[in-house]
């Protein structure tokens, strides 16, 4: 599959004018995002996520390294026509109505009438923005409504690639869940989503692959399933006697018996067959063999802590 975003050695440094020291906001970042995937870009505050996105959009310029977006170099207008961006805080012209805001952004994509009005209507409906708000100035919108119009403007050009920077931050639980659903729907339409977020449960639910950066450096990247896969398996069986429990304990190290059921909480994968054979050999029943999974939050915290975060 082709890369929607390809980053090679991207580096961004700033000079601190007071201390005369160089600050590396992004440090030799190399990364690929494939077409059609929802990609989670994770990191603590100040890790370099927004700086990376801003470089990919041509808003700021890399100090070193290169990147392509939809196969075109950074800042290419043809690529930008197929890309959209929702900044961390959705900033708008406060005096404009929701409809006029959408009309303005549609004009920037050179979408002619009547297609423009059709797209505006469709996008506002897709993000569930109440129709009564369409002709009201944005200054009267709630945070949730602003995020909806932010997503709507990001969809106006029917983009191939969306950059979403903390799209669900500060939203109430209902708005949060609805917005997450919108993002999932966007992914189902085959669009590539580059999602920068602190909401790790959201990322775990929506992203097929993730990357974790810390202090501008890439710590790890991979499929969400693989990163969250645990290295132990839990086995539960019933019907065995005390002798079986002892044999299992000798292999697995532990075996907890309760109400006629035994639970072996953390078995090395290579010992699973031996234990299952013991259970079957004793005419007992295997109830379940469940691989452990870690949450993305655990993976994130472990990865960042190992990198020396405080």
């Amino acid at each position: 599959m082709a890369a929607a975003v390809s980053i090679q050695g991207l580096t961004k440094t700033y000079l601190d004018v007071w201390s005369k020291t160089e600050i590396r906001a992004v440090d030799n970042l190399t990364l690929e995002v494939e077409e059609g995937e929802i990609f989670g870009f994770l990191g603590r505050n100040g890790a370099g996520k927004t700086t990376t996105i801003k470089m990919l959009l041509g808003l700021i310029f890399p100090t070193l390294g290169t990147a392509t977006v939809l196969g075109k170099p950074i800042g290419d207008t043809d690529a930008k026509a197929q890309v959209s961006y929702l900044p961390e805080e959705a900033y708008f012209y406060e005096g404009m109505t929701g409809w006029d805001t959408m009309d303005f952004y549609a004009r920037l994509f050179r979408i002619p009438e009547p297609k423009r009005s059709e797209r505006i209507r469709q996008c506002l409906k897709d993000v569930f923005l109440d129709e009564s708000a369409w002709r009201r100035p944005i200054r009267g919108y709630s945070k949730g409504m602003r995020q909806r119009i932010g997503i709507a403007q990001a969809l106006i050009n029917d983009p191939k690639l969306l950059f979403l920077d903390e799209p669900t931050s500060g939203l109430d639980p209902i708005a949060h869940a609805e917005l997450r659903e919108i993002i999932v729907n966007v992914g189902r339409q085959g669009k590539t989503v580059f999602l920068s977020s602190h909401q790790l449960p959201d990322v775990e639910l929506t992203c097929s692959r993730v990357a974790i950066i810390h202090r501008g450096k890439l710590l790890t990247s991979g499929k969400t399933q693989e990163l969250t896969a645990g290295d132990k398996v839990e086995i539960t069986f019933s019907g065995g006697d005390a002798a079986l429990a002892e044999k299992v304990k000798a292999v697995a190290g532990t075996c907890e018996a309760k109400n006629g059921t035994c639970r072996v909480p953390a078995v090395d994968p290579q010992k699973v067959n031996d234990i299952v054979d013991l259970i079957r050999g004793a005419k007992a029943s295997v109830v379940s063999v469940v691989p452990h999974r870690r949450t993305l939050e655990e993976v994130f915290v472990d990865t960042v802590m190992k990198a020396g975060a405080n």
């Binding site: 801003k54 041509g58 043809d78 900044p87």
Partner: protein, 255 residues
């Protein structure tokens, strides 16, 4: 289309600014009340009215232009609306031109509104349409076009406060072109060099001040049309150069 969309958005945004509307209302009120100060010089009440009207339009136009010019680009960066605009297929030159044109349309609307009231007051006072005054209002607009381009250029790298003083300062110095021109023949070499640098590098805003010729018909200009066309061409060419420089600077600016 993109440039015009940005210009339209800028115009609408600026017309919502209360400070600009207050300036317009105050200026229009001063022009409308102009006939009441005619008693200060009964024999030349018409000249006083014309002088006052053009002076008010110039002063209000100056404030409106500077306040617009210093804000249109920095406000986009400060409010971060520039992110969603420049992440679209918008070239940076289109953004700068759109912002300039939006600011210019704002100044045009303001000056035209004041000009219409001014001509209306003269019609009421003198019983005829003083169409020659349109030239004065028009020259003020082109003077402001040049000042607006200067403010836009500074806004690509200077803060609004610095830009305010730079634009105002250069407008004042640029209005003293007659002084700097006279110093070009000074015996002192240093004076000549400094006067030359100021005279040729800083926009010649003084050339647009044709009030004296309009208010006092005894002041003769060989060919008024040529004089006006020359000044309009000067304003447009100088503004184009300033906008080109603004685009070059903004193209390299991180937002």
């Amino acid at each position: 289309m993109v440039t015009l969309a940005i210009a339209k958005q800028t115009l609408e945004d600026m017309l919502r600014r209360k400070i600009l509307l207050i300036l317009l209302i105050v200026a229009v009120a001063m022009i409308a009340l102009g006939p009441s100060v005619g008693f200060l010089s009964p024999r030349e009440s018409s000249a006083v009215l014309r002088s006052l009207g053009l002076a008010v339009i110039l002063l209000a136009g100056l404030l409106i232009t500077v306040l617009t010019g210093i804000q249109v680009i920095p406000t986009e960066i400060e409010r971060r609306t520039v992110y969603t605009v420049l992440s679209k297929p918008v070239q940076r030159y289109e953004f700068v031109l759109g912002k300039f044109l939006g600011g210019l349309f704002t100044v045009f609307v303001m000056i035209a509104s004041m000009g219409i009231v001014f001509i209306g007051v003269l019609r009421y006072q003198e019983g005829r349409f003083a169409t020659e005054m349109i030239q004065g209002v028009m020259m003020t607009f082109f003077q402001m076009t040049l000042l607006g381009a200067l403010a836009i250029f500074f806004s690509t790298f200077a803060t609004p406060v610095v830009n305010f003083f730079l634009s105002f300062g250069l407008f004042i110095v640029g209005n003293m072109s007659a002084v700097t021109e006279s110093l070009l023949n000074n015996k002192n070499v240093a004076t000549r060099l400094i006067a030359g640098a100021v005279h040729y590098a800083i926009p010649n805003f003084g050339n647009f001040n044709i009030q004296n010729k309009l208010i006092h018909p005894q002041v003769v200009i060989k060919d008024m049309n040529v004089f006006i066309m020359q000044n309009i061409a000067y304003a447009l060419i100088y503004s184009a150069v300033l906008l080109l420089l603004a685009i070059i600077v903004f193209d390299r600016r991180e937002v």
